[in-house]
Amino acid sequence: MADEKAEKILAALGGASNIIDIEPCITRLRCELEDGSVVDEKALKALGAHGVMRQGNVVQVIVGPEADTIASDIEDLL
């Protein structure tokens, strides 16, 4: 289940090849991406994200307190 969510979030971020770095911070995933423009905000929100903040290729996905777990699940997929 959790892994599936991580997989979907990863896909919405443009896939493993688009990830430079993912860092969890309590309520959010700070994602440094190759290309921030491909992020599927709608999909992320459908997956339960409270919000998505973009600053160029740094995209923060607000996922709530499960951020740590999700980040480590995503790390496992990379």
Binding site: E23, C25, I26, T27, R28, R30, H50, G51, M53, Q60, I62, G64, P65, D68
Partner: protein, 151 residues
């Protein structure tokens, strides 16, 4: 039941909207309040009785037996400090009492390093109207009530 949420730090209570971070200012992870901490080295304490479910040097979440999660974040973007200047006194999964020391830090040092040391205290995933007695504008000591949470 009503949960009393105490201040993890001493300082001046301000609205969450004054926090220079949209996630907190827009209450994306829940409603709450923020404390502009006194600029002296101090112990940060647990706002409620519960279990430490998430623990970083610069932030933690305590969940009560009833499942209420209270997030305490020490400063903004302080994840970039990578733990420098924060000394933890508990481990993840530990049972804590309200008022128990969780981490030591120095808000003045955080500020000198270029970060806002403001401390958002958030009732995770709570409906906004479930919080009452918000102590906005007050000066609080460690452990003084910040707000009540109707659950």
């Amino acid at each position: 039941m009503t949960l009393s949420v105490g201040s993890p730090v001493a300082g001046r209570v301000v609205s969450l909207t004054e926090v220079p971070d949209p996630v907190f200012a827009q209450a994306m992870v829940g409603p709450g309040i923020a404390v502009e901490p006194d600029r002296v080295a101090a112990d940060v304490v647990s706002p409620v009785d519960g279990t430490i479910v998430t623990l970083h040097p610069h932030a933690f979440v305590v969940a009560t037996e009833g499942g209420a999660g209270v997030l305490v974040h020490l400063g903004i973007d302080t994840v970039k400090r990578k733990g420098e200047g924060f000394t933890l006194h508990v481990v993840k999964g530990e049972t804590v009492r309200a008022g128990q020391a969780i981490v030591s830090w120095d808000p003045a040092e955080v500020e000198a390093a270029g970060f806002s040391p403001i401390c958002p205290v958030v009732a995770l995933d709570a409906p906004a109207d479930s919080l009452g007695d918000l102590s906005e504008g007050a000066t609080v000591a460690v452990g003084d009530q910040l707000f009540s949470w109707q659950r």
